[in-house]
Symmetry: C2
Subunit: 328 residues, 2 copies
Amino acid sequence: MEKVPVVDCLQYANWSEEVFREMRAGGVSAVHATIAYHENFREMIDNIEEWNGWFQAFPDLIFMGRTGDDVRRAIKEDRTAIFFGFQNPAPIEADIGMVEICHTLGARFMQLTYNNQSLTGSGWYEPRDGGVTNFGREVIGEMNRLGMAIDMSHAGERTTLEAIEISGRPITVTHANPRFWRDELRNVSDDVIKSLADSGGMLGFSLYPHHLAGGSACTLKAFCEMVAKVAEKHSAEMLGIGSDLCQNRPDTVVQWMRDGRWRKQLPARGTAEPGAQFPAPTDWFASNADFPKITAGLRQVGFSEDDVKGIMGANWIRFYDSALVPAS
Amino acid sequence: MEKVPVVDCLQYANWSEEVFREMRAGGVSAVHATIAYHENFREMIDNIEEWNGWFQAFPDLIFMGRTGDDVRRAIKEDRTAIFFGFQNPAPIEADIGMVEICHTLGARFMQLTYNNQSLTGSGWYEPRDGGVTNFGREVIGEMNRLGMAIDMSHAGERTTLEAIEISGRPITVTHANPRFWRDELRNVSDDVIKSLADSGGMLGFSLYPHHLAGGSACTLKAFCEMVAKVAEKHSAEMLGIGSDLCQNRPDTVVQWMRDGRWRKQLPARGTAEPGAQFPAPTDWFASNADFPKITAGLRQVGFSEDDVKGIMGANWIRFYDSALVPAS
């Protein structure tokens, strides 16, 4: 049987040789790695420098990915292509020219918002969703021109639908699940899924327990049945995985993700406020080595081998091929 | 007769469509453009953004160059490949990881010093030349690894000789003339030229009047005779042009080059102190359109056609081919 390509379109693991080896163990050929949440441009640069150190230290395991061809190269060379992404436009600050600078540095995905209002749009956590801003339209235009994928995970509903509408190229929600399965604003409505499907976009399913029905107790079967339901309602070709794997991160990182520097009242440094802990992983997905279990799970709920390959990675590769190249 | 390739390995013109059109008129296929003197990292980014704007506005005239192949592409497509360089390591600040960041952003040349002491070495204007610093050795190592050319223009003699010695790859002085012709510390000694020659390095001749014997009154013939003398003493294959063309820059730019932000006592903003004016150009080199005159001048002093091609561009192309690729 031809190998199933595996692409994970969102991780924020505590990167290490161990994690990179687990990517190889799980047959993961590409990972979209978050390199910034609330970091400004200069702070994001430090994070790239850290990645450059890993690329230099572990060339047999990982390399920087920029195009769909890099995923094929990774498959061929038994390595993992790491694609940089921001979960917030904070690194571009208020400067439209920064989109190209960040693209040159390797950024291939950028969320327009992370929970709160950003300069480009509204997050799901805001009391009001003002949609895509003036600057947001400009940023979408630049991302379209350069071939940087627009990621609407963590965005408000109106902002998401407007971004799909405004963008001249298909966009993505890399890590979220349908609200019909777990009804939370952080997950996506049927309208959003339909709009993504109609525009050639992609939805990546999250394996983060807070996004799963039943949380950490969610079974692999329940997850795969949900995937089958979305495939039936919409299309299997728009589906992939964006695990949101935050393996080995301390709880203080949840605090950073949630709070950045936007609010004053915070618990003492080094502690985590109630609710700001990483949930326990499910018993079927705790590291990159677990991807083959999902492949098996999708087969068991009746997906064709073509659909399994698509959802596990081939659909992302097709999306990367079209979304991560400059506009012609 | 086969076309003479023209490469200018140092300019800081006041870039504009007019200047880019003159590059085409002069048949200039590659220009090493200074994008930073005293700019810190963030300020240098603004300068790249400005260049990105020009690349987008004038794609028929210019594009960003990264390798020797880009010069051949420029020759083929009748365009000019612009290679980014810093005349000072200010943009990397005190951060070794920044060398790779700047390389990713396109920087292909970096001077270790600009007149004064830098974090990597001593400039010619310092009272004492301490040679290459601890950080300087690290920076040379990174530049060697990545394929960023080390440019020792404006450096002190000891710092220059040590950099040639320390570097595992050939380096360059992109814009200076021999001291035997105009005896100033900013120009290069026979020892430096010999050391460059022995190590496979390159010397680019400056056309900046302050570096010419006789200044603005220097004749084309005198310049070309000096080139012939260096070729005879050392080798024609290590020679090229680094014009130091600062066309259309106001005199306040001389002030910025000289003073950056390092000294307090400066003339009022917008004025130029005595001596801090751009010299009048020679009557044979005032813009990129004048390069064919130099080609003709070199022929007239008796250079073979092969040597003329080498000095006007082919030697730089060979250097770019080896110096601007990652270490193997």
